[in-house]
């Protein structure tokens, strides 16, 4: 059996693989959302006054906002008072090293295939693991510290590097940016913080693994990546959640800052629980991700493979402020059964000679709805801005939908903006051709879909690419024939 087939075999025998939960003792906030809860979270995390004030300000702003309805998705409204905004595995004291972490917590991550044990870790990836609301462990911290790189949980950054957090928090995604960003700003519990000093090339992939475990808990993580001038970092994010009947809310904010000549690659493989075949349960994934190419010649590249969640609402964006800066967005979004995805990007060209590239590959199966929504904006000052967008949709079966909503706003006549879109169906002919060579239908679909998404998968670091391929095959299992 070839390795690919073995993997597929493994996957096709299961439904959603990470649909288990663990009963650990948790430290939880009471249900509901009000100023008291926010004070409770802030106190729990022993935060400084400025951060509490920031949260409260965000909360007040959020209260005055309306939930957006423009996305091409439908779902029952979230009752924010029935959610829990903080849940942490109970640890008797704060762990100082990996050895002190509750073995049960480590076991959870082992089950996900993420070993936090540094000795056993594959070379080249440092992991920050976030369970429900808090960061459990960060590996390779020492190695990175020698280079001046900070890679730790957000809470820790607030304590250890308050000046950095204060400077950049909310600088790319303002607290009032949108409904869910405001909510996140008010209640975010933890996340990852990453700082690459000037001129440093981060020698390993930095990775955060998010898992929601507790029931009725919203996960609101906050990620902040700061790449100073002439630095480089590649950052990976993975997500899973247990299988539950109720919908769970995930509203994260990711901010990226890139200084002059700095480059940040951000890759996501999102595999939140998508709900069952009838659309019961699943994660609502309402995420704001944005990066600013603040310095000249800087570059931010988003790569995402979206396979999970019941409803996805997400537009990783780039503000191209520095002259000659580059923004890239590579996306594969797969929807099956009753899943809905409204995802895409925004490229805001402000600086001169700025370039952006958008490659979006949607795959719809079952009764799912898959929308690409993208905005390319060229401001007055942005002479010689270039954009190339390619939006492809692949349909499987005749009950799903694919939609494309491109918005283009050009204020400088020297701009060159190209948009290409295709829609295709997986052909019976292609499948039969594979069958005739001895390839089973499931494997044929996996092969064809991976070929279709290749341009995006090629952008992922090797290990992630393998995981993404497996996920694509799994997500589409049983959608043909």
């Amino acid at each position: 059996m070839s390795k690919d087939n073995q993997i597929l075999e493994e996957f096709t025998s299961k439904e959603y693989e990470h649909g288990w939960s663990v009963n650990y003792e948790a430290d939880e906030a009471p249900l509901g959302l009000n100023e008291e809860i926010i004070r409770w979270i802030s106190a729990k995390k022993e935060e400084p006054q400025w951060l509490l004030d920031w949260r409260l300000k965000a909360f007040r702003a959020w209260e005055a906002m309306e939930e957006p309805e423009w996305a091409n998705v439908t779902y029952p409204k979230v009752d924010f008072q029935k959610l829990r905004y903080y849940s942490a595995p109970k640890q008797t004291k704060k762990p100082k090293s990996l050895d002190e972490i509750d073995p049960e917590l480590l076991a959870i991550y082992e089950r996900l295939g993420i070993s936090l044990n540094e000795q056993k870790r594959l070379q080249g990836i440092a992991v920050d693991a976030v369970l429900d609301s808090v960061s459990v462990a960060t590996t390779f911290k020492g190695t990175l510290a020698k280079l001046g790189i900070v890679f730790c949980s957000f809470s820790e950054a607030v304590k250890e590097h308050p000046e950095l957090v204060k400077k950049y928090l909310g600088s790319v995604v303002p607290m009032t940016d949108n409904y869910y960003a405001a909510l996140n700003s008010a209640v975010f519990s933890d996340g990852s913080f990453c700082y690459i000093p000037k001129g440093v090339r981060c020698p390993m992939e930095l990775s955060t693994y998010f898992r929601i475990n507790a029931a009725n808990t919203g996960q609101f993580e906050r990620t902040l990546i700061v790449a100073e001038d002439e630095s480089y970092v590649s950052y990976l994010e993975g997500c899973t959640a247990p299988q539950r009947d109720e919908n769970q809310l995930h509203a994260a904010v990711v901010e990226i800052y890139a200084g002059a000549h700095a480059e940040v690659k951000y890759s996501t493989v999102q595999n939140w629980f998508p709900g069952d075949k009838d659309g019961k349960g699943g994660i609502y994934n309402f995420v704001t991700k944005r990066g600013i190419c603040a310095g000249d010649h800087s570059k931010i590249s988003w790569t995402q493979v979206e396979t999970g969640s019941a409803v996805t609402w997400k537009y990783p964006s780039c503000i191209l402020k520095g002259d000659n800066s580059i923004g890239e967005f590579y996306s594969v979004a797969v929807t099956n059964n009753m899943q809905q995805a409204d995802t895409g990007t925004k490229m805001i060209h402000i600086g001169k000679n700025t370039k952006s590239r958008i490659v979006s590959k949607g795959i719809s199966a079952g009764k799912s709805q898959n929308s690409y929504r993208g905005q390319v904006q060229v401001m007055k000052r942005a002479s010689n801005a270039r954009n190339f967008s390619q939006c492809d949709s692949l349909l499987m079966g005749d009950r799903c939908g694919a939609h494309t909503f491109p918005y283009i706003d050009i204020q400088n006549p020297s701009a060159k903006v190209e948009h290409e879109a295709t829609t295709s169906k997986i052909g019976e002919d292609q499948i039969f051709y594979c069958n005739q060579r001895g390839i089973s239908t499931e494997d044929a679909v996996a092969l064809i879909v991976n070929g279709y998404a290749k341009e995006v998968l090629n952008q992922l670091p090797m290990e992630f690419a393998v995981e993404a391929q497996k996920l694509l095959a799994l997500t589409l299992e049983g959608s043909v024939g």
């Binding site: 059996m1 070839s2 292609q430 051709y433 594979c434 060579r437 001895g438 390839i439 341009e455």
Partner: protein
């Protein structure tokens, strides 16, 4: 090796094959000829298991097994190979990757160990010579942007890699210039062995100058109306199909 008995097949309710009988033994080459619309390609597709074709009557026994009972991929794994008239394109999937997936699934079915990358590549190198195919072509997306000749050559290359017992060439000569025809035919001839058989579906006698058949059958209105040796193909080339049509239509 292959026994076709009274095979009837229809597409969307329209009968195309109306009682085909054919016996193919190991080591033999059979040519199926006939005018347009006589059912030649349908026969090839039915044997390979294409879903749109409904078998309404008859049976096909391949190496002692009921072929019609097997899924298309299992027929392939049992050793039936169809060289397509119109090979499909699969963007983003290299020929190499495609073939490795195919070969290892076939090997698994046959209880053989999968080939690792090194062994696979050396096998590929060996077979590439047979059809004079360039490695560069094989690292490109399968059939995407290939010329007609490259597609057909790639089909024969796949055949060489998968080592089938029964190869069905469906109008492999269409769209080939003389040089490509020679290369493709040479490949097929080199792959011939006393244990394998070939069915060549073609319009023209031209291909049969290169791949010399032991038997030639003429298909008309879904039946084999005449069988003979390679001389029959020459006669068809000289006289066309009309005399056969007249013979058959007069008999009805």
């Amino acid at each position: 090796m292959l026994t076709i008995k009274n095979l009837h097949a229809a597409v969307e309710g329209t009968p195309i094959l109306r009682g085909i009988n054919l016996e193919v033994k190991p080591g033999e080459v059979h040519a199926i000829m006939g005018p347009n619309g006589s059912g030649k390609s349908t026969l090839a597709s039915v044997l390979a298991g294409r879903e749109e074709y409904e078998v309404t009557e008859g049976e096909v026994i391949f190496k002692g097994k009921d072929l019609l009972d097997l899924a298309p991929e299992d027929r392939a794994r049992e050793g039936v190979f169809l060289a397509f008239q119109y090979p499909v394109e699969i963007p983003g999937v290299s020929s190499t990757n495609f073939l490795r997936t195919a070969l290892n699934q076939v090997r698994e079915y046959r209880g053989q160990e999968p080939l690792d990358a090194v062994k696979f590549l050396s096998l590929m190198k060996e077979k590439m010579k047979l059809v004079e195919i360039d490695q560069k072509l094989l690292s490109r997306s399968l059939n995407e942007g290939f010329s007609g000749g490259e597609k057909k050559r790639n089909e024969i290359f796949q055949m060489a890699m998968l080592e089938p017992t029964l190869s069905i060439l469906d109008e492999t000569d269409s769209g080939l210039d003389i040089d490509a025809l020679r290369i493709v035919s040479n490949g097929v001839n080199k792959l011939k062995s006393p244990d394998t058989a070939t069915i060549v579906v073609t319009h023209y006698q031209r291909l049969l100058e290169y791949i010399v058949p032991d038997f030639v059958h003429v298909l008309y209105k879904g039946q084999i109306v005449k069988s003979g040796t390679k001389d029959l193909a020459l006669e068809l080339e000289a006289k066309g199909y009309d005399w056969i049509k007249e013979e058959v239509d007069a008999a009805v």
